[in-house]
Symmetry: D2
Subunit: 382 residues, 4 copies
């Protein structure tokens, strides 16, 4: 049931274990109260894992994709919300370090371990990342301003900075977007409604209205479409898949424990669902590992993935988000009432609730439709 | 929709294309008449692809696992039966070259491109590869004899040699097996019943009663359990998965063609099933590629895979056999009546019929149960 | 595994048994050669079952919906093609007797047991029953003519009459349709292409170009939309579901036989798939029975079903067409190689091939989309 | 989306509406705090619906199975826990009125609207209803005692009486069971652990250790196997299926609302999942209605259902428990983040959590295995 152990240096495994323990200790309380996992994020900061994706020369850990996926998996086994916050933050941080390496705030962001939220969702665009209603506006003293109604701003209340998308200008098309990194003190935040949801409750992903005034040099100097294609989509899909694989692995581990307990009293007890759940986990791991390998060369070179690679990433997102849910449900069947319980060593309730969020993060239907279009366009057969 | 192009040297791709064309030309007739694909097998012999898995020093092509999987895929796109015969034969050949390299018949077998069938199934053992009823018996002049009722002996009537499993001796346990390679002229074959089946009709896998008299040096000098674990299971699972992936890829290609045709008249036509089928194919490819990579080190070193690797191979077999069936059914939905037809460029009928054999080749339930036992035994958590 | 035995009078059960036996005797040959099941249709004529749906006062058997569904099921257990031909013919006959009871040809059609095909499909309308390109044209001597390219005209070459849809006149909208019953001698038929397909091969549903000249009184005196809503859709959906349930029941019977055989040698053998397949069959039977009951009052009164009833019929079509396929695949898993064989008492190959046609007969996606619209429109909540 | 409206007399619909409103008002609080829905149970008492299943001559409402199923559905739409408590209580009450009509406590139980819990589960019997470890023991003054460790005693802390199973005597086989109705003051209850679980949180189904001293005339005068077969299994399976259908119907209603909202802004928005969810609901309703009809004659006559009917009830339990989960998940997909929220009119979170309990209430695997055995035994073919 192990993931790719051996990918992280032993000292990193130790640091990871420290964070995981903090995350585990607070996980039940975080979930119950739908509160920010402050303890675990503090540990991420103290161990440096909060800047895992930033290159060493900028003060980060400089981890590659396989190592990052491993971290996502291991965190998720203990606290899905912590893992997802970490994964989202790495994505935003990667956008910054790769597409705006000369950003004036970057040194401080890395040194202080700023937690960066994203404000890419927006009321009225129907969940389309690549479309904005809000736009940059001229502000005082050559600066800029924007105002945006974000529908799900994960850890919005607890972030130190925000990566916000907007149309380049008031007369730009909805798809002519830029991204800008604004700091906590540059924004006025107004939470809209609460975050009392089924799972991933610690991500505190409420709606927020955000007003910001900032300098023009805080706008990332490449179009957001480049940022999204070259960094945001690949990193988020791979790390999300890592998080979901970790949840799935933990569900299988708990199911195996429950099955072992039962087998102790009845050695002939057949547990076909366990073989099924485990096989699905292995398939998911295989697909995730293959996607990491396929994406790595383009990612390391800073290139946008090809259409084919993009389709592979979409397929991974769909498969992993559905896979974790199937595996968690099989685990529930195996664990029975012990799995249905919210607590105890064979509980899979929180894992299952967290897993239900996976198919909703960018609708799978949208991704499959995009892939169908890619296939229809690629006439060449090989 | 391409598989791992670039894995084969260009001249091998050319040879492969020659065989594939022969296979394609005869495929409909082979299927209709449930007859041996003699043309394609002749082309395999002429191109040398029939000894693809044998090392160069023995006169083979010395292809590694990734290249072999590529060949299986490409053959399957044109004729599933040819691909499956080739895959099974490679498995048997690999057992011979790896576990009996000093076999007296090996040089001739490679030089002449012998086609090797396996007689591992047996009436009365319930499909358990690792269990035999028949046993070796003393024959004339220090030789040995055996008589075996094989339940499915693929291309039994057209093989040049047979890899037969049996108990080591009349008083051995059912699991104390050896394998022996007997030649066509050393056996008496009696076909039992016909091979008029749903799909993979060209494999001609009827039941056969086989009587053989042979020399003691034809018995592979290691226990069959070693042969099975180190070679037969890994090679067959990987190459079968390659065959099924090829069938699936061809189904997706045909579905894309049908969808394109329809989109021509109605550009807004949504084909969500196409995105789904393609995503499943990408997932299958990812899982297969990851399994090849995971198995390669042990395979190249001649070691038996670990329990964990064995579980991964079982998981691959289950996923690929179910995946090809799902993909073929999605393709049928997309292609509609054109897919339901037995002929035409958007037909998926034969692919679907061939795919239905996949879950039956070693029952998936048996493999999942084995995996469940592996999980129950592996207490270590990582 | 029985269906609703007891619904038919004993003498009808006897007649049905006679036909079923004829159908069974020819089924393999009909399937192999994709030829019309002439023997079974002759037996339908001789027993009077060919006019089962026609009221007694017109010379028919006057069977109600439950009895008709029973006949469909029982025929399908022996020969899917015969059952489907019978079901389609009953549908056409019901349209005639219910919507054109004064038709001049009706007495002869019933007395002679005419087999009535439908020409509702048409090239260029994308499978939409309620849309026609062809239209009625004025012919010689006050008569009418039409010419139509039907894409799938089941038993077109062997029918005695044809129920053809067309636009009412050359300047009518595509949805302003009528139906007309033309006789064999009034038409010129030209088969387009062959019918060499995966399953339901005996229905001989090739494409046909049909030219007809006929009297104006042969046009059904109500709009086709009424015929379709009040009779064609409900009768076809219920009888198709009957056919598929029969195929499913036969698959379960064969799987039970195979499982019993295995249990004979190993009494502890678990067959979870058998419980699953049987439970699905029971569910399908329940849903079918409930739909028959729900539709009966409107049907007997000659009224069009409500939107809600229409949605229930669509849901039945989708569930039964997917259910029979699932059940047949479970049966194949249980029967193993004996099920994969095209012949033998545990063969499920032909059942499975026939079942693959079910989701394609009016695409399920189209029906579910129609239901979604119905739900969106029905604001009333209870 | 309505169920079988019209089955209840209008005045009963009104009473039902009163209870449903109470249940709805408290549902969120009941769920959040995993507390007993006291308000709703009070309303059940005040309206008389608490004795719905008791015959009129005993002071009950005398409702038949179709009406009872309707009540279960309607309650479940507002509060799953209330509906499940009501369904379980009706089951226990039915056992009492049908198998011990002369019970001395029965008049008071009906008149006061006692809530009856069941203590049928027991530690150490692996979830097998028909097997007990505990047994009746001789007590003081000709009375009896028992002590039992129940693993899930729904509303154990809030019940007025308990239907407890036990072996008839200390030397009886584990399957030689009786049932006894003991009153609250006759028992000592000790709760073991808490009830903090994924869903159906208001049922408060903790483990309880129960000690009771009671009169010999409180033992039901027929073997428990008769009680179980003739009453407990049929009533519970039908009413549970009613509860789950109600949850499913509510999920579809909410999904339709969300889809309508979206369609308002984008009228061309396709919602294929809505058609799918609705079709599944209709199928479930059909199967449930058919099962009610099939069971009614035997139930009304007080006979045990045949093996075939038992299999149909098991199939219903499996289909309904899996169906509600599928439908709830489709609804979540349709509602997106609004569905993921724990509150709001398009929330499906609680429904989904409640639905996850359905497959666990008597394991589906156990029921399918029982059905497989029934099929293997029933050699008659029709």
């Amino acid at each position: 049931m192990t993931g790719a152990a051996g990918i992280l240096a032993p000292e990193l495994e130790d640091l990871l274990a420290v964070v995981a323990e903090q995350a585990a200790a607070a996980a039940a309380d975080v979930d119950r109260n739908a509160r920010f996992p402050a303890e675990a994020v503090r540990a991420l900061r103290e161990t440096g894992l909060i800047t895992a994706i930033a290159p060493r020369e900028l003060g980060g850990l400089g981890l590659g994709l396989p190592a990052l996926v491993r971290v996502a998996e291991q965190l998720a086994r203990r606290c899905g919300s912590t893992a997802m916050i970490w994964a989202m933050h790495q994505t935003q941080l990667a956008c910054l370090v790769r597409h705006h390496p000369r950003s004036a705030v970057l040194p401080e962001a890395v040194a202080e371990g700023w937690l960066i939220a994203s404000v890419t969702s927006e009321r009225g665009v129907g969940g389309d990342l690549r479309s904005s209603r809000t736009s940059l506006l001229d502000g005082a003293a050559g600066g800029l301003t924007l105002e945006k109604a974000g529908t799900t701003v994960s850890y919005g209340a607890d972030a130190d900075a925000y990566l916000v998308t907007a149309r380049r200008s008031a007369d730009a098309q909805s798809g002519s977007q830029v991204a800008v990194l604004v700091t906590r003190e540059q924004v006025e935040l107004e939470q809209q409604g609460s975050w009392d949801v089924l799972g991933m409750r610690g991500t505190c992903s409420a709606a927020f209205r955000l007003r910001a005034a900032f300098g023009a040099d805080q706008v990332l100097p490449v179009p957001f479409r480049t940022v999204a294609a070259a960094t945001m989509v690949p990193v988020s899909h791979l790390l999300w898949a890592g998080v979901w694989t970790g949840l799935a692995a933990e569900a299988v581990r708990r199911a195996a424990g429950a099955a072992r307990l039962r087998a102790g009293t009845d050695p002939a007890a057949e547990v076909p669902e366990l073989g099924r759940a485990h096989a699905k986990l292995l398939g998911l791991r295989g697909q995730l590992g293959a996607a990491v390998q396929a994406v790595e060369p383009a990612y390391e070179a800073g290139r946008e993935p090809t259409l084919g690679l993009g389709a592979q990433l979409n397929a991974l997102k769909v498969a992993a988000s559905e896979g974790v849910l199937e595996i968690a449900q099989l685990a529930l069947q195996i664990c029975g009432m012990a799995g249905f319980a919210e607590h105890g060593r064979h509980s899979v309730a929180r894992i299952l609730r967290d897993a239900h969020s996976a198919p909703l993060m960018i609708g799978n239907g949208r991704l499959l439709a995009a892939n169908a279009r890619t296939v229809l366009l690629s006439r060449g057969e090989r």
